[in-house]
Structures are given as structure tokens and as C-alpha cells.
């Protein structure tokens, strides 16, 4: 009775939709399960009847079939069917053997429970409903066997009890372990498979999975505890005080466990929270990558096309250009304020502002990464560069301006160049403030210098140089 009793108990803890399918695909290949035959119920039924026959017939004859449980032809959990298929015996004989072994101190139950706990279900096979008539038949048989055994020998024999108790522990362990390998990648979707290296955490993290997990954990735990305590009680020397001693010990263990749980609970809770956040972040990142690829392939291309066909400076051109910039900023999103790229980011922002304000394209190329500690001076450099870009956009009568910045260990230099009309620097009215104050003056105030190279018809280049303090050099 014990066998079937614990069996139904176990069955009630399993969520009815759980198919164990965590085996890798190469095992499928070894067995030779027809891939197409898995998902339609009719085909599954056919495969099941196939497997009632002795092994070797279903798989390729050269490879010995692996040992699996057969959830599709089960009476209890498919252990007997699996063994039969593996050993090449009729399945009824195997089932009878289990029932008869029940009589030997519950060995049948023990073996069944251990096999059940250890054997994985055959992957890709749907669980069939239990054949209640068969189950009843075997249950009756089991009762008969046990009754006979009770008449023949003393049931209080310690080894007999031990057998039953170990079977109980095995069942409990099985309940918990099976949960561990439970997530079905196809059924649960990506959610359970999301935690690489710890698939069981995925089971905790899914909302529906969590309750089932808890239920199984508690149920399995109770079985294990009862089994263990029983074993301890059975093997302590007979005497009135020994039972109380065991109970005291148990109480002590419980209190200790409670303490550990109290300490660990917040940690565990936080860990679960972090894992969930990570998973969500990863999903978001994946989606973003897909979008980015799409935008890159389609939208950026279209924007480039518009820029090619629309005249530079036209509204369409500028709109396309600014849209492209926005998209690029999003696609290749850089962590804002990364010290190494502050100069680059700032220069690009300045260039974008100039592009928005004037009908001109500004290409920015930056080489090297800027040292961390020169924030204010770098700002001044960028402001001067921006002024030079504005001048080029306003006066040079060109479509495009090149900005090149290079960071060397001892200095930062920025070059703003256009191929426009140019001018004679010597002929500029000294009273004009524009260039003098905003570019040259600003650079000199911050310990740098500016040089303007231009001649009529040859374009203009503004060269900005900012020496870096030697003691603030970044370590290479």
C-alpha cells in the first residue's frame, strides 16, 4: 500500500502541465526519437505503443537504448516501462517484479523510488494519463503481497522499517530534484532558461513556477524529514528516553534551521530580486539590439539617401541629417560622462548644434581619449572649437567643415578646417571681437593657444592647442 500511496501523493504535487524535457538534443539523436512525432498526441501515442515492445526495436539496433522513464506509458511514473525498454523485457514482468519485491522489506518500493528519483523522463514525450484500471490491479497485488508477507514474517523487523523509510527519503528527494530539472524550454518559454548555470533559479523566478516549487519543496522536505527521523528513531537503542532524545534533537535542529532561514531570507530575497532585474535588463537589451539592427539597415540608409539627393543646406537635407544624428546617438549610445570620451562627446554636441543652426555638415574625428582631470579647460577648448565651426559655417560659404581632435599625452589639439573662401588674417580689423576674444583670447586664458591659417580662396584652418599639465598625465 505504501508504494501506491506515496505515488499518488507525489502525483498530486506535480503541476499537471510539467513535462520533463531538460535533456540535451544529442540524447534525442542517440535514441532516434522521430523529431516530428513529438508534439501531436496521436503520434505520441503511436510512439508509446512502440516502446511497450522490447527495446532495440524502437531505436537503432547498434546503440543500446538509454535508460529513461516513460511518462507516456506509465502506471505510476513510467519507471517500469523505461526499465523494460532498456532491458528488453516485457513491461508486465518488470512491474510484477517490483510488486513482489515489495514483500522483501519494501525493497520494491525502495528500488522504484530510487529509479524514479534518478531517471530522467524520455525527452520530447508527453505524459499520458494514468491507466487507473492497471494501477488498481497492481495496488491490489501489492496489498496481497504485503498481507502475505505480514503473515509469514515479523513486520517490526528493523531492516524492513529501514527499507520503507529509505524509500520515503528517496521519494522526497525525487520530488525536490525533479523540480530542479523541471523547466521545459519549449513550454515555459525563455523565462526559465534565462538563468544560465542555474536553471532551477528560473523555476523560482517564474510566477507560476514559484508556487509549485514551494509546494514541492515543502512536500519533499516533509518526506525526507519523516524518513530521517524515522531512521534515527529506529536505530537508536530501545528505551523510553531515546524517543524523547530524538525529539529533542529534532527540535534543536529545527530551531537552528529557523535561525539560518531568518538570517538567509533577506539575502535570498534580494538575490532573487537582482536576478529578476538582470533578466529583465537582458531582455530589454535584446529587443534594443533587434531594433538597432533594423534601424541601422533601413532607416539610416534612407536618411543617407535623402542627404545624397537633397541639396546641402535644404530643409530636407538638414532634417535628414539631424534625424540621422539622433538615431546614431541612440544606436551607439555611449555612457554619458565617460571620462575618456568627454572631449569627443562635447565636440560632437557642438558640431550638432552648428549643423542645426547653419546649412553645413560638420564631420568630427577624434583620436585618443582625454585625460580625466582637465574638465574646465577641455570645456574652454570645445567652446573655442565651436566658435571656429560657427565662423566657418557663417563666412566660408561651404557645405562641410572638418573637425579633427587629437589627444596626446602632453597636449590636446583641435583643428577646424573648411575649404571655403578664406580671408587674409592680417587684414582683419583689430577692433573686431569675434575671433580675437572668443577663440584666441579664450585659449590663452586657459594656457593654450590658437592659430588661424587662412588666405583668400584657400579656405581656413583654426588650430587650437592645449598643453596638459604634466603631473596630471593619465597612466597609460
Amino acid at each position: 500500500m505504501g508504494t501506491s500511496g506515496s505515488g499518488t501523493l507525489v502525483a498530486s504535487w506535480k503541476p499537471c502541465d510539467d513535462r520533463r524535457d531538460d535533456q540535451s538534443e544529442d540524447m534525442d539523436a542517440v535514441i532516434g526519437t522521430p523529431a516530428g512525432a513529438r508534439d501531436t498526441p496521436a503520434a505520441a501515442g503511436a510512439a508509446a505503443s512502440d516502446r511497450e515492445r522490447p527495446a532495440g526495436a524502437a531505436g537503432s539496433p547498434s546503440v543500446a537504448p538509454r535508460l529513461y522513464r516513460e511518462p507516456d506509458s506509465r502506471v505510476l511514473a513510467g519507471v517500469a516501462a523505461g526499465l523494460a525498454a532498456h532491458l528488453g523485457l516485457p513491461v508486465t514482468a518488470v512491474r510484477l517484479a517490483f510488486v513482489v519485491l515489495l514483500g522483501v522489506n519494501g525493497l520494491g518500493a525502495l528500488l522504484y523510488a530510487v529509479f524514479w528519483a534518478v531517471l530522467p523522463p524520455r525527452p520530447g514525450v508527453a505524459r499520458a494519463r494514468r491507466d487507473l484500471a492497471k494501477l488498481l490491479l497492481f495496488a491490489v497485488l501489492a496489498v496481497v503481497v504485503l498481507a502475505v508477507r505480514a503473515f509469514v514474517a515479523d513486520l517490526n523487523d528493523a531492516t524492513a522499517v529501514a527499507g520503507w523509510l529509505i524509500a520515503l527519503i528517496a521519494v522526497g528527494a525525487g520530488v525536490i530534484w525533479h523540480q530542479v530539472g523541471d523547466p521545459d524550454p519549449r513550454r515555459r518559454g525563455a523565462s526559465a532558461g534565462e538563468v544560465p548555470g542555474a536553471p532551477w533559479l528560473g523555476a523560482i523566478l517564474t510566477e507560476t513556477g514559484r508556487r509549485a516549487y514551494l509546494l514541492r519543496f515543502i512536500g519533499g522536505g516533509v518526506l525526507i524529514i519523516v524518513g530521517t527521523v524515522g531512521l534515527a528513531a529506529a536505530y537508536t537503542p530501545v528505551g523510553g528516553s531515546s524517543v524523547t532524545a530524538v525529539l529533542n534533537g529534532l527540535l534543536f535542529a529545527l530551531v537552528a534551521l529557523l535561525g539560518v532561514a531568518l538570517v538567509a531570507a533577506p539575502l535570498l530575497w534580494r538575490m532573487i530580486g537582482v536576478l529578476r532585474q538582470e533578466r529583465e535588463a537582458r531582455i530589454r537589451e535584446q529587443e534594443r539590439a533587434e531594433f538597432a539592427a533594423m534601424i541601422h539597415d533601413q532607416v539610416l540608409h534612407t536618411l543617407a539617401l535623402i542627404q545624397r539627393s537633397a541639396p546641402t543646406g535644404s530643409d530636407a537635407y538638414r532634417l535628414a541629417r539631424s534625424q540621422e544624428r539622433t538615431l546614431r546617438g541612440w544606436l551607439y549610445r555611449k555612457p554619458a560622462g565617460t571620462p575618456g570620451q568627454r572631449l569627443e562627446t562635447a565636440l560632437e554636441r557642438a558640431a550638432a548644434e552648428v549643423e542645426d543652426a547653419y546649412p553645413v555638415t560638420v564631420e568630427v574625428v577624434v583620436v585618443g581619449s582625454d585625460p580625466a582631470d582637465n574638465g574646465e579647460r577641455i570645456e574652454a577648448l570645445v567652446a573655442a572649437a565651436r566658435e571656429a565651426m560657427v565662423n566657418a559655417a557663417r563666412h566660408a560659404r561651404v557645405d562641410s567643415v572638418s573637425v579633427y581632435a587629437e589627444v596626446e599625452p602632453d597636449q590636446v589639439s583641435v583643428f577646424v578646417r573648411d575649404r571655403g573662401v578664406g580671408f587674409d588674417p592680417g587684414a582683419v580689423d583689430p577692433g573686431r571681437h569675434g575671433v580675437r576674444g572668443s577663440i584666441i583670447g579664450r585659449m590663452e586664458r586657459h594656457g593654450g593657444r590658437a592659430e588661424i591659417v587662412s588666405s583668400p580662396g584657400e579656405g581656413t584652418e583654426v588650430r587650437l592647442l592645449l598643453p596638459l599639465a604634466a603631473d596630471r598625465k593619465e597612466s597609460p
Binding site: 541601422h296 539610416l300 540608409h301 539617401l305 574625428v365 585618443g368 579633427y404
Partner: protein, 234 residues
């Protein structure tokens, strides 16, 4: 530059060799873009064919043997790089089909990857038609074409780092002159302007740039790949 392209001249060869129009092939999975470039280049070169997929491009390039292939960096099935590698496998090394990479994005990884696979240059798709025709001509003559951004990439990748051991000093670092030329390229100077700025001939500028290209293609410098992978930016 000697030009061992076979068959092309005799087929279209009424024009004198000096004015011979270059035969250009377009590879891009965007039909609109191909149409646009075809129209723009009509006055400058002969566009002998175009393809939108990798296998089609490989087949036609091998059959047509154009002087220059304009190659989109990003395409399904491996992109421009796949085209380049497969064509290289099928044509004997003597055949002068040259590749110029075109892209909407300047992701360093892609650009450096294509150059190292054998492209002679790289320009962005927003390049003006005149400049594109120029770049095609230069590539056809065996020179390299560096956009300012590519010049910046190379400078960055070959930056002198104190703790780096160089496996091959000749290949793994740039000479000062090459560095100067690249800097001017990055600053937006044309070859002619670089020549004037450095008091050297245009031919010398071209030689320097070609040398840089060779180093970029041949060097096994560790940073080159790592740098390109690190710097996934525009």
C-alpha cells in the same frame, strides 16, 4: 600602375587608353541606393553591373571583372566582407579587381575588418558624387582611399603605447611621416594640400597612404583587433 584586366579594353576599346572609362560594379542590398549611385556616376564611369546579394555579387564580379567594386559593408549573409573573400578565392591573384568599401556607419570594427580583408579604401555613403568618382579613380590606380574618419581610426589603432611589444616593428608601427600624412587626412586635407603642406610630391603622399594601408592589412598588432572591438562607436 599596370593594369592586367583582360578583355575589358578590347570590348569597349574605342576610346584611347588614357581616357578609358573605368568599369565599376555596385554591391548594395538597397536598390534605391544602387539606383542613386548609378545615376550620379553616369558622367564619370561605366557602371557595368550591380547586385543586391552576396552570391549574386560574387557570381557577377567573377564574370565581369570590373576595375572597381563599390562594396556595401553591411549586407545579409556576411556583408561586403563575404563578397570580398569569396571573390578573392575565385579569381587568381593577378586579377586587378579592386574594392572600395561604402557604409552608412563608421563602426570601427566593420571598417577595419573590411580593409584587412583586402579593400583598398573606405568612404561613407554621404560622400558627394564628385568625391566618390575621385575615390574610385584613385582605387583603380592602385592607391588607397582614406576618409578622415578612417585616418582617425588608424591613428588611434596605431597609437604609440609604451608597454606594447611589437612583433614586427616594420609592420606594427607607423613612421612619423605616415603619421603626419594621416593627421592631415583626418583634418580634411586633400592629397594635393597634404603634398603642399609637407613639401612633398603627391606621388609621395600616395605612397605613404598605400604603405599605411599595407600595414593595416598585414600587421598582426594585437591592439588592432582589440581596439576595433572596444570602440564600437560611430
Amino acid at each position: 600602375m599596370s593594369d592586367p584586366v583582360v578583355g575589358a579594353d578590347t570590348a569597349s576599346g574605342t576610346a584611347p587608353d588614357a581616357a578609358r572609362r573605368l568599369r565599376v560594379f555596385l554591391v548594395d542590398d538597397h536598390a534605391m541606393f544602387r539606383a542613386g549611385v548609378r545615376t550620379e556616376l553616369r558622367d564619370h564611369v561605366d557602371v557595368v553591373g550591380e547586385a543586391g546579394t552576396v552570391p549574386e555579387a560574387v557570381r557577377q564580379i567573377v564574370a565581369l571583372r570590373p576595375d572597381v567594386v563599390l562594396l556595401d559593408v553591411h549586407m545579409p549573409e556576411g556583408g561586403g566582407r563575404a563578397v570580398l573573400e569569396q571573390v578573392r578565392q575565385r579569381l587568381d591573384p593577378g586579377t586587378a579587381v579592386r574594392f572600395l568599401a561604402l557604409s552608412v556607419s563608421d563602426a570601427a570594427e566593420d571598417v577595419i575588418g573590411l580593409i584587412r580583408a583586402g579593400a583598398r579604401g573606405y568612404v561613407t555613403k554621404s560622400i558627394s558624387p564628385g568625391e566618390l568618382a575621385d575615390a574610385i579613380r584613385r582605387v583603380a590606380e592602385g592607391d588607397a582611399v582614406f576618409s578622415p574618419r578612417l585616418a582617425g581610426f588608424v591613428l588611434d589603432a596605431f597609437a604609440a603605447r609604451p608597454h606594447v611589444t611589437l612583433a614586427d616593428p616594420e609592420l606594427d608601427q607607423l613612421t612619423n611621416r605616415e603619421r603626419e600624412v594621416l593627421r592631415l587626412l583626418a583634418r580634411g586635407y586633400a592629397y594635393k594640400e597634404i603634398a603642399r603642406e609637407l613639401y612633398i610630391s603627391i606621388k609621395t603622399v600616395e605612397t605613404h597612404v598605400s604603405n599605411v594601408l599595407r600595414k593595416l592589412q598585414m600587421s598582426n598588432r594585437y591592439e588592432l583587433s582589440r581596439w576595433a572591438a572596444d570602440r564600437r562607436i560611430v
